[in-house]
């Protein structure tokens, strides 16, 4: 895929771990924010325990760790607006989209209208999204 002189590849970041118990969630977020500087076609997936990363109301005061969950709301400003949540993963955990933060971006082609970045997809739909990627990073 060409965008001017530059080759643009489809990069996907696959998040499958709960936050805080391991460092994966935070590391993924940091890598995503760095990679955003390279103007690539970036998408994020939250599946399996990864859906817990986006839970509303995280409060880490009592475990002495940084609460990095507010940072997800900045993804839209980094032009990261394709965020896929696997429906089955939510269901297995008794969760719905209402339990997760809302993530938005401003569409420059539509008078900066605020739009949802989150796409709820089934496992079968997610398989197709993964299949279309050039590179998938696992966290």
């Amino acid at each position: 895929m060409e965008d001017g002189d530059q080759v643009v590849k489809k990069f996907m970041y696959m998040n499958r771990k709960a936050p805080y118990g391991t460092i994966y969630a935070l590391e993924s977020l940091e890598v995503v924010l760095i990679a955003a500087a390279f103007d690539q076609d970036v998408s994020l997936v939250f599946a399996d325990d990864g859906v817990y990363q986006l839970m509303k109301g995280q409060d880490t005061d009592d475990i002495g760790m940084k609460n990095f969950s507010p940072t997800y709301s900045a993804l839209g400003d980094y032009d990261i607006k394709k965020i896929y949540i696997e429906k089955e993963s939510l269901e297995e955990r008794g969760l719905t989209l209402a339990d997760l933060q809302e993530l938005k971006y401003e569409d420059e082609d539509d008078d900066w209208a605020e739009k949802d970045s989150i796409h709820l997809v089934t496992r079968a739909e997610l398989a197709d999204v993964i299949d279309a990627q050039d590179v998938v990073f696992s966290f």
């Binding site: 118990g21 995280q58 409060d59 005061d61 760790m65």
Partner: protein, 102 residues
């Protein structure tokens, strides 16, 4: 002899909670910590295991780890007791030994 078992891994990712429940003797206790706290939530595909095991085993979950993950104390499986760090210490003191499942 009463033993306190601690499980710090999500049941969706590891089988530590399964093994622990299978091997824990009646009258012992299981405390869920860190990512293990997701196993304490009601309405998940794993809730039933705790609900069934609760007849013979006491279940506890560490409140600060629930709070960090945005999980509400009011949504834990009925009968699971929420404890704080000093409650953790009391549990360790009140049992004869502690078995940590990895």
């Amino acid at each position: 002899m009463t033993m306190l078992h601690t499980v710090n891994k999500s049941p969706f990712e590891r089988n530590a909670l399964d093994s622990c429940i299978s091997l824990a003797k009646a009258g012992s206790s299981i405390l869920l910590t860190e990512d293990g706290v997701v196993g304490a939530m009601q309405g998940t595909s794993h809730s039933k295991k705790i609900e069934e095991a609760m007849a013979n085993i006491s279940f506890y979950v560490l409140g600060p780890d629930l709070k960090a993950r945005g999980l509400s104390e009011s949504n834990v499986v009925n009968g699971v007791k929420v404890v704080d760090y000093s409650g953790f210490v009391d549990l360790a003191a009140d049992h004869e030994s502690v078995q940590s499942w990895l």
